[in-house]
Every structure is written in C-alpha cells, then in structure tokens.
Amino acid sequence: MLLRHTPKEVAERSALTINPAKTCQPVGAMYAALGVHKCLPHSHGSQGCCAYHRSALTRHYKDPIMATTSSFTEGASVFGGQANILEAIQNIFNLYDPDIIAVHTTCLSEVIGDDLTQILNKAAVDGKIPANKKVIHANTPSFKGSHVTGYSSMVSSFVQHFSENTGKKLKQINLVPSFIEPSDMSEIKHLADSMGVKYVMLPDTSDVVNGPMDGKFRMYPKGGTTLDQIRSMGDSMRSIALGRVGSLAAAKLLDTKCKVPYDVFDLPIGLKATDDFVDAMRKAAGVSVPESLMLERGQYLDVMIDMNQYASGKKVSLVGDPDILIGMAAFCAENDMKVLHVVSGTAPGPKFERRIKELCGDGVVVKTGPQADMFYFHQLIKSERPDLVFGNTYCKYICRDEDIPLIRVGFPIYDRIGHSYFPVTGYRGGLRLLERVLDAVMDRQDRDALEEKFELVM
C-alpha cells in the first residue's frame, strides 16, 4: 500500500501540493518547439531544468530529446542572463546548426528579470544571429500556469514571430492542436488528408518524437512544421483550434495579427467531437466527406453499439490536462459511462467546468488548480469508487492500492508505449480507445466472475 497514508476524508489544505497532477510551463514549451522543423528548444535557466525536461520527455517518448540550456550560474543570477544567452546562441549555431532557436524562460530567469525581447533584439542588431537563422522566445515562468499553458505560449510565439499576412489569400486552413501526442497529430492530419483539405498544422511533433529507427542519431528528425509553413499561416482562410486551453491563444493571435478568423473546438475525441471537427473542415475548405472517413466512422459506431452493454453504466474518474479531459468526458458520456470525478492541476477557467457539466451532468465533481492533485483525486476515489480510472502513469499507485484498472492517457506516460503510435483522436482513435476500455472492463469481469457466471461469448 504505497499510498497507505491517504485518508478518505478530505481536509482543506492551505499551502501544499501532494503528488501533483501537472508540471511546469517550460516542458510544454520544449515539447511545442520540437514540433517545428529544425528548431532547437533552448531553456533559459539552470542546467537542471533542461535536464529534467529532456528526461521527462525521453521517458515519455523513448526517443532522444534535444534541447540546450543557458547553464545559469551564481553570476548570472546576480548580473542577469544576457551574457549566457548570447554565448549560447553563438555556440548553438556553430555546433548544432538549427534553423530556429526557440528560447523559453524559467522561474529563475523570470525572477531575475531578464528581458528577452530586448536581449534578442540587441543580439540581432549586433549581428550575433546569422543570416537566415531565427531566435524567438516565449515567457514560461514555472510559478504560473502549467505544462499546457507553456505549450500554448510557445505555439503563440511562433505565430507572433513568423506568421505574416502578405495580402494574398491561400486556399489552406490552419490546424492548431492542443498538447497532444504525435499519434494524435498524425490522426488529425489523416482526417484532413482524407478530405483533401490543404492545411498547415502547428506544431506537429509526429515524425519527431516518434521517429523510426534508421541506424542514425539525428539532431533534427524529419518531422515538424516548417518555417515557410508557419509564415504562410497568416494567409490562410481560417484557423481551427482544437482544445481551448492549449490552442486558443495562437488561433486568436492569427486573427488579431493576420486577420485569419478562427473557430475553436474540443479535441476530436469521441464520435461527436470528431464529427464536429470534420464538419468544420468541410465548411472551411469547401470539400465533402469521403467514403473512407464514413467507413471509419461507421466502424467505430458499430463497435459502440455492439458492445454498449459492457461500457454502459461503468463509473469512471478522470485526471489530467483540461483539453484531453473534455475529450475523455465526451467519449465516456457517449458510451453511457458515468463520469464521477474530473481533476486537473491546470486551472483552465470557468468555461471548463461548464463544459464538463454539459457533457456529464451536474453530478460530476470537478476540481482544478491548486490542491487539485493526485492526493485529492485519490480521496475522491476512496469516497466514491469508480470502475475505471483515466489518467497518466502516476495514477498507477492509486489504481494498484484500490485495485482499479487504469486507462493511460495524458502526460506523462512512463510505463507503456502506445501513446506514441496509436491515437485517441478521430474515429480510429475512438475505436482504439473504446477497445482499450472494453479490454479493461471485460478482463476485470472475467477475473472476478463467479465460475457459473464466467462467460465464453461476450
């Protein structure tokens, strides 16, 4: 009983997070920057930050994660980190030759008060940035927001620095996904490709953090949105933001900066949300939905109906990041599963709770922000026991102690590999997610059934 100390009764805590259900902004910024081709994420802070983020992402993706650091020392904390970042820029271009350095700040550099806009402008004026090379930054202090907001800030920063309205309208749409897996980014592209939609997706970590083994170590894998593509986003017809918390800021910026209108949708998780996304693309690009997608949709719906008796009425508790939680809640509600609890360390604003209640009814317990941690989530589970938990790897402590099956979704997942390759988005992702849920529920039923009730045909 690893969590033997967790009491059932919830006592108000004033100052304390126990077993967090979030992590800090910079890791999200690093992940977003990896989704741009030949871009090297750079951490402006102590070495440890960069090492921790790289380790976290490496454990999650089991792929090399490259990023550099300003290597702050005591001197930098007194005199500011300007000298460090200038030296870093020079070293990075000399040695690693990226097209773009995407700098994100840390709690340390923010508290010191480094003004990166000014420092980087000066570097450009002084000729410290080679021609055709770019250095951008995003402010991601660890004492604000979470990894999801850090991701959002970095995506916005790419738009801010590169997207231009040249006055020439391109027949393409922008797709801006929230913090999701490379497999999900691929699936969203698959939906768009199937419909023949021309699009730019920013960021795109597929083929970067789930790259193939080809016998070489590459600093810059094949994937990622290109700089030219990001530039062209300012000339697109429309932006579709998927997942409000992680994607809205960039879509909004494309509107205010480049006059590209946007729609914001839930992540395409489950049938209805995928339908909505497909329909939005159909309208925005003026295309029709092809047979191949109708087949994918039909198959998913077929399984939903075939197996509904096993999913129906199952109670679930969800923990993770807001956009994915909305997707999971929608998926569960569609399959007649009852969502008991929704917890996120990220504070997503009042719209989030309203949306969850729209999907799951008023009975669901929603808690976000400070003290919405795994300890609290565990207490909720102790007070009303679910049949399934949806969440990241850290849920395994709770699930082991309480003997409840875990559906791994979100970040981080350190102990399974599926998330890199198999999506939860789209019709095919819905089918796969449903399969995983049914496997968990039915394995449990098989394990626990009385001998006379042990069924061959299910």
Partner: protein
C-alpha cells in the same frame, strides 16, 4: 576527429594521441546539450532514499514533479520518500515571499505523516525571493519536536556536486543524536549507496556474513534513527566517492571516524572492498570469513561469466556515467566479459579521476568530460562501439544508432552491485548486445554488407 566546441577542446582526450591533462569541473558551456543536471538534482537524489523522512520541495511545481519517485531506491519499510510534496509556489509568493506557505505546508505534512525528520529543499528562486528557510525550519522543528533541515540546493549555485555537498551538510545534522543503542566494535556505516534495485541489501548481507555490524546506510534504505547513531560506528565505507566523501570527511573531523573509498561493481572492486574493510579491523576471524565469502561467491559466478565472455569477446563498449568512480569499475568489469572500452566519460570527474582512466584504458580510447549527445554519438560511431552504458537520456541515442544499451543509473532494473550484481550486469549486457533485434538494424546491415563486399 569530431567537431568540438573550442572551449571544450581539452575536455576530450584520445589516449595515445593527446598529451594534455583533461579539463573538468567546469560549468557547461552555455548552449550545449549538456547531459548534466543542477544542484537541486544532486541533493535530491542523495537524500531521497531516507524513507522515514519527509522531503518537501520549496519552489514552483516542476522540481517536485520531475523528481517524483523516478529513482528505484528501495525501502524495506516506510515509503514516505516515494511521495511528492511541494509548496507549489505561485506568482503571489514570488512577490510577497513563500515563508508563510512553507510554514503551513510543513505543519500540515508533519501532523499528517508523522515523519522522523523533514528535509526542505530550496529551489532556484527561493534565495532570490528572500525566504529565510532556515528560520522557518528552526521554528517548525521547535514546535513539532523533530529535526527539520534546510537543504541549500538552489539549482544555479554550482553543479550537481555542490548539491551532494548540500545534502551531506543536511544529513550530518542528523548524526550524533543517539548515544544509547549499543554498537559493535566491528561496525561500519555504508555511505554513498542508494539501494537501487536492492543493492544495499546485497552489500549489507556480505558485511553481516563477515561478522561486521552495519550501523547505518547513508542513504540507501535509510532511516533517521540509524543515522542518529552512525557517529559511533568504527569505520565509514564510502561508495560513489562523488557524493558522500564530503560527509565522511565531516564525520572524521567531528567524531574521529576513519573512512575508506570503495566500489562494489565488478569482481576486483567488490572483493577489494570487503578485504579492505576486514583488514582495517585486523581481526583474524573476520578476515577468514571474508576469504571464505569472496572465494565462494567468485567461484559461483565464474562458470557463467566464462560462457558470457565467449559470446562477447572482442566487442567494444562506450561508457557515459555521472560519477567517474563508477566508470573505473565498469572498464574493469567489461574486461571480465571480453569487452574493450573505447569511449569513457563522466559528468563530474576530477583531474585525478581522469588521470586514472588514462592509466586503465587501452590506446585509442576517447576520454571525455561533460559530453553532449552529438559528440557522444560521433565518438560511438567513430570507435564502432557495440554497447553504450549510461542513463535515461543516453538510452534512446544508443537505440537510434542501433547499438546495445545498459542503464547503470536510476533506471537499472536489476542490482548491479556485488558479486551477484556482476552476473546480472554480464547477463544484461549479453542480452542487449546479442539480441536478435540488431539483425534488423540498418547500421549493422550496412556494416555487414560492407564487410562481405570486402571479402569477395
């Protein structure tokens, strides 16, 4: 040779080619993809295994999130160390200070979990926002009646090594508290083993069989109560010299306890460690028991090692680890299984360490301090290594290049220390190097077809 940053030129050395002393102990060049971490990381990994203490991380959430149970330091009892506690500082505290929050968090935690002691780790911004962590700790300690120890581990205040030192300073304050519990004349403290995959238990068992009492393990499977009486042990036996030598020196000065440096990896080092300890006590019976133990253990593993050596003979290895002391043992251990070390480096080696590495390695071996993935991958390719030994960030580099890997860091799954650990190590290396998956590795296929082309 591989392209290297100018300011790093003397941190890389090829034996038989270069003549200079290797530079080390430098902070990493800004802008490098350093594999190193920070002061906080050093303190956290060293103190973390003390299982009945509370470990509270004072700072924004990240530092607590990334160090939550990532190291397999096993406990035979309490598991409090596997939880993640943070004051989760927000913008408000950055402006107005975090002392109130720290005080409240400590009180809530101590009331709820009733730990034997508490460590409070300072992260980067704590010093900058001006929190007097020491004063808060002293107050809570008075009110709750347990030691509450500040760990001065602000990330930017040096390297990981400085974090070890801050950890030693904190844990030292737990020593010298228990003068009652009887302690044997033949007694030691094990310093610098963290019980990864249960390694402390293996080593402890050897000492038990030798007739030597282990008073405390600092910090593997550590307990506050044991550390309280550690000052009465007759000898400190220090492993992983990077992290705990400082504590051994403090204990020598304060309590007059002599110390010796040992390594528990590989047959020679393991045997030597036990003999050195036995000889220190100069007790004939202990020495005899030690001989029997070593003889029995070594004989038990030699036949299987010979079989493994037959499979691995002539294969080449690259090593990149945190502390260089470990790399010495690995170079020797690899020889036992027929493998030659062609690249060896560490994050925190000293000049003496690197001189010693020069002595024990073969001509042509690349020795590097604080390397980065680009350099490392090129050394591996240039030297044709079949295996990389490293930690979490090195693993995918090896796999993408199509070579075998052995985790000798936090994520080891089998005990690698002790005699049985040598066998586990050899088995793991063989399993990875000889795996049929490499048949499908593009690099291997290319190399093989090139070799075939040369023959015909």
């Amino acid at each position: 040779m591989v392209e290297i940053l100018e300011e790093r030129a003397r941190q890389v050395f090829e034996k038989g080619k270069d003549g200079y002393a290797i530079e080390c102990g430098k902070t990493s060049a800004a802008g490098s993809v350093s594999q190193r971490a920070c002061v906080f990381c050093g303190s956290r990994v060293v103190l973390y295994p003390i299982a009945d203490a509370l470990h509270l991380i004072h700072g924004p959430i990240g530092c607590a999130a990334y160090t939550w149970d990532i190291r397999g330091s096993m406990s035979s009892g309490p598991e409090l160390h596997r939880m993640s506690f943070s004051t989760d500082l927000g913008e408000n505290e950055v402006i107005y200070g975090g002392e109130k929050k720290l005080y409240a968090a400590l009180c809530e935690l101590i009331d709820h979990y009733e730990p034997k002691a508490a460590f409070v780790y300072s992260t980067c911004i704590v010093g900058l926002i001006g929190d007097d962590v020491g004063a808060v700790c002293a107050r809570v300690s008075r009110e709750k009646g347990i030691p509450v120890l500040p760990v001065n581990s602000e990330g930017f205040k040096g390297t990981k090594k400085d974090g070890y030192r801050a950890a030693c300073e904190a844990v030292f304050k737990l020593t010298g508290k228990d003068d009652e519990t009887p302690v044997s004349r033949l007694s030691i403290n094990i310093l610098g083993d963290f019980n990864l995959a249960g390694e402390t238990w293996i080593i402890k068992d050897y000492y038990r069989r030798m007739g030597i009492e282990v008073v405390s393990c600092i910090t593997g499977d550590g307990r506050v109560g044991e550390i309280a009486r550690s000052h009465r042990a007759a000898l400190n036996v220090v492993q992983c010299s990077g992290s705990m030598t400082y504590l051994a020196k403090m204990m020598k000065e304060a309590y007059g306890i002599p110390f010796m440096r040992v390594s528990y990896f590989g047959i020679e080092d393991m045997s030597k460690a036990l003999y050195d300890v036995a000889e220190h006590f100069g007790d004939a019976e202990t020495l005899e028991r030690t001989r029997e133990l070593v003889y029995g253990e070594v004989n038990a593993l030699l036949p299987e090692l010979a079989a493994i050596k037959a499979d691995l003979d002539g294969k080449k290895a690259a090593i990149y680890v945190g502390g260089s002391f470990k790399s010495f043992a690995l170079v020797k251990a690899l020889r036992h299984i027929g493998m030659r070390t062609v690249v060896v480096g560490s994050q925190t080696g000293t000049p003496e360490d690197y001189e010693y590495l020069k002595e024990i390695t073969d001509e042509g071996t690349v020795i590097c301090d604080d390397t980065n993935p680009l350099e490392l991958s090129r050394f591996i390719m240039e030297k044709g290594a079949d295996l990389l030994i490293g930690g979490v960030k090195e693993r995918p580099i090896a796999y993408k290049m199509g070579i075998a890997f052995c985790d000798h860091n936090h994520e080891r799954k089998e005990a690698l220390a002790g005699f049985s650990g040598m066998l586990n190590f050899a088995r793991e290396v063989r399993a990875s190097v000889m795996s049929p998956v490499w048949k499908f590795s593009p690099a291997r296929i290319a190399a093989q077809s090139a070799a075939k082309g040369g023959q015909t």
